[in-house]
């Protein structure tokens, strides 16, 4: 009953099941193309820079950063929130679209989930390194210990954060991995190389594809999906309480939890769009990642962008409505105008205004423009976090401790380093894992077709 003429096709061309497996696993058997090697080299270089910055931080301490008593949180927290945000779309795609029975998710969920795992790993680096003595990071685990009866502060949102993120990483990684098991088995059965057969065979857990296995597989997907759906909301809500449970003007806002979740989904979807356009272009997957897939992502992005715009508007309006002089100062004198007005307006332009171009069909169809907009959104989301973290801290209640903040090379290095690590992860994913969920795409191959081609 799937009406292709209204909803758009899911898989183009007259594909057979065998052809799908062949198309999607082809990049794994081929030698890595030149662009892949070049991108890998750049990513490695960036990651090396990051490692050096990490070394400097650990060797000489947090003093190598420009954070100070007033602006105690700088780029590291901005980047942490930014990466966690990007790490949301994978699960959002897989679970929410699964629950909403959006069949177009099948070509996209694998890449989105992969991205989630790498992004969350990048995010996790920041809090660890921000502790200063990273070798004592295990103190954050609440367990009966020999350090006197010393416990973590259970009242602290920072501790809730740690719990939420580790749970999220665990569940989203399992969800992603178990989703890949049938596809690993497909590669194991198709490949001619003995080495690959052994490796992929190991990861395929001896999958044979019997109906009983599929039944259990589906039950597991639903259970993990159900847990992940809760986590995807809770993680960023809890990240938002890092700010919102304080009494700092511009941070203490009851809107923060949903506003952070939506923002995270926004940046995550934008990153999915970036990646899907790259995959489609680089591996010629036009038949699987069709125009209607990208069209759907673009439409979600407009919708979310409107929510973001409404949230920005609500915040500014409320700061005036509250009549609270500190709130008004933060928004009107230190965001809309003042030292950081560039960052504020960059946020509004990139997140609320430019994505509105997706209202035009021509823009949605033009992949170059769509690609640029998807990057702009992620820049905008970075500025949003900058706005929240830095502006509120730089000028708070006490004018004598007002200050400004700009990063040192070490802080920039850490950021570039995580970009590199993310790049390496994604490139490995391109090379060694089927980028599209083979078995799921097969499941929707005949959607909307009344006559089956093969039985």
């Amino acid at each position: 009953m799937y009406k292709t003429e209204i909803r758009g096709p899911l898989v183009l061309g007259d594909k057979t099941y065998g052809r799908i497996s062949q198309d999607i696993t082809a990049p794994i058997d081929r030698r890595a193309p030149v662009w892949w090697k070049a991108a890998m080299a750049v990513s490695l270089l960036a990651a090396t820079f990051g490692v050096i910055a990490m070394y400097v931080t650990v060797r000489y301490g947090i003093g190598t950063w420009n954070v100070n008593n007033s602006v105690a949180w700088g780029w590291e927290i901005i980047n942490f929130v930014w990466w966690i945000g990007i790490g949301h779309a994978g699960t959002a795609f897989s679970i929410f679209l699964l629950i909403l029975r959006q069949k177009w998710r099948t070509s996209i969920n694998r890449a989105a989930e992969a991205m989630t795992v790498f992004a969350v790993m990048c995010a996790a680096i920041y809090p660890a390194i921000h502790m200063g003595r990273v070798w004592l990071a295990f103190y954050i685990f609440p367990y009966p210990n020999t350090r006197g009866p010393l416990w973590v502060n259970f009242n602290s949102p920072l501790f809730w954060d740690f719990i939420a993120i580790s749970a999220y990483l665990l569940i989203s990684a399992s969800f992603w991995y178990f989703g890949m098991v049938p596809d690993f088995a497909t590669i194991r059965d198709k490949t001619t190389s003995k080495f690959k057969k052994a490796i992929y065979g190991f990861f395929a857990f001896g999958w044979t594809g019997s109906s009983k296995e599929w039944l259990r597989y589906e039950a597991l997907s639903y259970v993990l999906g159900g847990i992940a759906a809760v986590l995807v909301v809770s993680v960023h809500s809890i990240v938002s309480t890092d700010f919102a449970s304080s009494v700092i003007p511009g941070w203490h806002a009851t809107l923060f939890p949903p506003y952070f979740v939506v923002g995270a989904i926004f940046s995550g979807f934008a990153m999915v769009m970036t990646l899907m356009i790259i995959i489609r272009k680089a591996y010629s997957f036009q038949d699987y990642i069709t125009d209607s897939h990208l069209n759907a992502i673009a439409k979600i992005l407009i919708f979310v962008s409107l929510i973001m715009g409404t949230a920005y508007g609500t915040e500014v309006f409320m700061s005036w409505y509250s009549g609270n002089e500190y709130e008004m100062f933060t928004f009107f004198k230190n965001r809309i105008t003042g030292d950081y007005s560039f960052q504020f307006w960059a946020m509004v332009t990139c997140n609320a205004i430019i994505p509105q171009l997706f209202w035009f069909k021509k823009v949605r169809k033009n992949l170059t423009i769509a690609f640029i907009i998807s990057l702009i959104i992620n820049v905008g989301m970075w500025y949003e976090r900058f706005n929240i973290v830095v502006t509120s801290l730089a000028k708070d209640y006490l004018p004598s401790s007002w200050t400004t903040y700009s990063p040192t090379w070490v802080e920039i290095g850490l950021y570039i380093g995580t970009l590199g690590i993310f790049g390496i992860g994604v490139l490995f994913f391109f090379k060694f894992i089927p980028m599209i969920a083979i078995s799921e795409v097969k499941g929707v191959l005949n959607a909307g077709k009344t006559v089956h081609k093969q039985h």
Binding site: M1, S245, A253, T254, F256, P258, S322
Partner: protein, 387 residues
């Protein structure tokens, strides 16, 4: 099979009877305790307006998400949203009760209170009513257009009206986000003129959507039990349950987000709102609110068997009718009275509005075929099946 819903004599008599009870309750209240009477008028009007808005949002959402399962009964949310013009008239009547309801509307309030003076450019009587006119005109125009396209689609067929509906649904949702936010600030939040919370608008919107969907499910089930919508099956029930379940979580989430952040930060201007709710006999309602609107729907609909069962979904929707009332009550009354009040005025006013809503709904529903003839997703909806 009847293709149209007929408004029989009995239905009309009951509706008019309820409306008369409502008028009697309001008049009685107006003579004995006018503040309470106006508060009830606001509460019930907002109650049914938010349900109508929720239903219209549901309808628009079906278009923009390309959802097929609901196509069969889309005339029901259409008819529910026809209450919006009636609510507009009642909302304008609030003009005569401004002095009773809104502290900021008191003569001279701005002179003694700097916070009210600060808000005066926004919170003043002329602008308040200008905004009411703007909100309602936008909502009325767009819901009317969506209804018109839907009826023309029946007559002419083709995808033209479907595509138009898609476009206007987007515009409607866009405008609704802004206007309903401000409307909830105006009508409900400004009752406590010193207090503010920026999740408030979103919370009120979700509450309306939540209870709108529950009411929609209830109405569709009742129509099914009276011989309409024979194709309604357990898959439809499951989809209704999913909406209710998801929205109960969302309701609980927003409730908790607002409460926890205000409680945790403990800033006096903000905690006063909950301090009131935790004293003078309101506390029980505070918890009843959570139980009815989050705990029960969440627990009951969690099981896979329960969420396909028509009777269970029906009873959850009935619980939510009470839940929505309690929720609105606890949003409005602590600002009006010191201790909770409940009596003939409350019951009568609710029944009166229920009668009015049912009458407007039934009248609109009887104007067009129950099942839209040329909707492109109609077949998906009639033979809806989910694993």
């Amino acid at each position: 099979m009847e293709t149209k819903f007929t408004l029989n004599q009995r239905y009309k008599i009951i509706c008019f009877g309820l409306i008369i009870i409502g008028i009697a309750a309001f008049v009685y209240g107006y003579l004995t305790n006018p503040t309470e009477a106006w508060a009830n008028l606001l509460l019930n009007n907002y109650y049914f307006l938010s349900i109508a808005i929720g239903a219209s949002f549901f309808m628009a959402l079906q278009y923009i998400t390309q959802s097929g399962w609901s196509a069969m009964f889309k005339r029901v949310p259409e008819a529910m949203s026809s209450f919006i013009p009636v609510a507009a008239i009642v909302m304008l009547l609030i003009f005569f009760g401004m002095d009773h309801l809104y502290h900021w509307a008191h003569h001279g309030a701005a002179e003694t209170d700097p916070v009210i003076a600060h808000k005066a450019p926004y919170l003043n009587i002329p602008f308040f009513f200008i905004r009411i006119v703007i909100y309602f005109s936008l909502w009325m125009v767009l819901t009317h257009l969506l209804r018109k396209f839907s009826i023309q689609e029946d007559l002419e067929g083709g995808l033209k009206y479907f595509e138009k509906s898609e476009l206007y649904s987007k515009i409607y949702i866009f405008l609704l986000g802004f206007t309903f936010s401000l409307a909830s600030f105006d009508w409900i939040m400004s009752l406590d003129v010193h207090w503010f919370s920026n999740i408030f608008a979103l919370k009120m919107f979700v509450t309306g959507f939540y209870h709108g969907v529950a009411m929609l499910a209830l109405i569709v089930i009742l129509l099914h039990e009276r011989g309409h919508y024979k194709e309604l099956n357990s898959s439809h029930m499951m989809d209704f349950s999913r909406y209710i379940f998801m929205l109960s979580i969302l309701w609980g989430y927003f409730f908790f987000a607002q409460f926890m952040l205000i409680w945790f930060s403990n800033i006096p201007e903000e905690t006063i709102y909950y301090a009131k709710m935790w004293n003078n006999g309101w506390k029980a309602l505070f918890y009843v609110n959570i139980v009815l609107n989050w705990f029960l729907p969440f627990m009951i609909l969690m099981s896979k068997k329960a969420d396909r069962n028509r009777q269970i979904v029906k009873w959850v929707a009935i619980i939510l009718i009470f839940g929505q009332w309690i929720d609105m009550y606890i949003h409005i009354f602590p600002a009006i009275t010191i201790t909770p009040v409940f009596g003939f005025i409350e019951i009568g006013a609710f029944l009166g509005f229920a009668g009015l809503f049912a009458l407007v709904f039934g009248y609109t529903l009887s104007k067009a075929a129950m099942i839209p003839a040329n909707h492109p997703y109609l077949e998906e909806s009639l033979y809806h099946h989910v694993e």
